[in-house]
Amino acid sequence: MTVLELDEINTYYGNSHVLHDVSLELAEGEVVALLGRNGAGKTTTMRSIMGVTPPRDGTVRFDGADLDGLSPDERNELGVNLVPEDRRVFPTLTVQENLTLAHKLADDPRPVEEMYELFPVLDPLRSNQGQNMSGGEQQMLAVARALIQRPKVLLLDEPTEGLAPVIVDDLREMLHDVVSEDVTVLLSEQNVNFAFDLATRGYIIDTGEIVYEGTIEELQQRDDLLERYLAVSPEEIA
């Protein structure tokens, strides 16, 4: 069943037209990768879904309902969560407050303590302010803050950026678990291997247009696409 559907959306920043007729579909419980080079429009797509930069035309549907006109918080209410690429942890709130705030705002949240189990690194930092954390710690907190709200659709914008390899391993596993709980994930990544490990289907976006759509297996075979749009050479695919 389709949970999230983008139908020919066009998004602008002021006068500059960034997304051109982008269409996507996410079925329940699947992990879909959104790949493309820097500036291709991945973040903009996610912001369009979340409603922070709503598309000027085209529709975003969630569970069949048109999201047009809904504010980000209303979309969050429906179960959409975005982990932004620049992390955006609340700088003056402590780790505990960041988590508790997200917890209190959700209808059916996970317990706060569960997050510390998922990310043991955060445990000793409970009373550290967001602004005083290392880059990787912030990244983990950002992911935890989204997960705690038990989202239906999770938009992950480059979640592995700045994470140590061991932590990337952990994250991979964790997302596996998360997906098994029927969470639908849209994942944007520069770390192609990470995306390939998790996703079942993928889209490639380039200069604001979807140029490819297919399963990951197919994509892994398409050296031409990988090279042209993702600039990875086949040997780099583990």
Binding site: Y13, N38, G39, Q139, E161, P165, Q190, A231
Partner: protein, 253 residues
């Protein structure tokens, strides 16, 4: 030796973020500092550049041919003495165009910050330098775009260009390729190689991308819990059991 730290320590309350780090960075070397998240890498940079004051320990930098203590110097003086950095969390002049961003660096570099009289951008030599940097970092296309209109990866390149622009003796790059796509990453790697070869620049780089680390490093330092866990030739360090466990995980060779 261009840069030396001596028992450098920094505490935040109970936490010792950097714990007695003594390092010597040699001329023309590329040193990678790796370590788990929260190991203290960025804090170490903040200490070197004068943003944070060490709880104890000393920092010495070679400038004008001799090793000088810079432990208590404020950031701008450290920069003037030849230590330049890029930020892990992008920190560029958002409201300025890419070209203006670089111009700021050039003006600072040339010590013309109090020049009221000439026109900004009228200095031909500086302009050439800026154009060269734009080419080098693949930003020419965005030269006249304001940074707040760039995507994340594009801004990352401005971040590096800024660090390069002040022609330091030592470059401190904090996760330079984070958020860049593979082509760009490769370009940054070759850029580091090139500068290292051509102008004998010294680099200290932190990275979580192991391909980059193995490619560029002459030497690797592993930090864990603020202290040096291992140090030495890349192959040797990466083969270290402790390093695999604390940091590399499945990326281990």
């Amino acid at each position: 030796m261009v840069l030396q730290t001596d028992g450098l320590t920094r505490q935040f309350g109970q936490l010792t973020a950097v714990d007695g780090v003594s390092l010597e960075i040699d001329d023309e070397e590329v040193t990678s500092i790796i370590g788990p998240n929260g190991a203290g890498k960025t804090t170490f940079y903040n200490l070197l550049t004068g943003v944070l004051e060490p709880t104890s320990g000393a920092i010495r930098l070679r400038s004008d041919g001799e090793l000088r203590e810079i432990t208590d110097d404020p950031p701008h003086e450290v920069a003037r003495r030849g230590l330049s950095r890029s930020y892990q969390i992008t920190n560029v002049f958002e409201g300025l165009t890419v070209r203006e961003n670089l111009r700021v660096a050039r003006i600072a570099r040339e010590g013309r910050t109090l020049d009221f009289r000439s026109r900004a951008g009228s200095n031909e030599a500086a302009n050439e330098q800026i154009d060269w940097l734009l080419e080098l970092t693949n930003l020419a296309e965005y030269a006249d775009t304001e940074c707040d209109e760039l995507s994340h990866g594009e801004k990352r390149k401005v971040e590096i260009a800024l660090a390069l622009a002040i022609e330091p003796t030592v470059f401190l790059l904090d996760e330079p390729t984070a958020g860049m796509n593979p082509t760009e990453t490769r370009k940054i790697v070759s850029l580091i190689h090139r500068l290292n070869d051509e102008i004998d620049a010294t680099f200290v780089v932190t990275e979580h991308d192991m391909d980059v680390v193995t490619d560029i490093s002459d030497r690797i330092v592993v930090l864990a819990d603020g202290a040096v866990l291992a140090e030495g030739e890349p192959a040797e360090v990466l083969a270290d059991e402790r390093v695999t466990e604390a940091y590399l995980g499945s990326e281990a060779l």
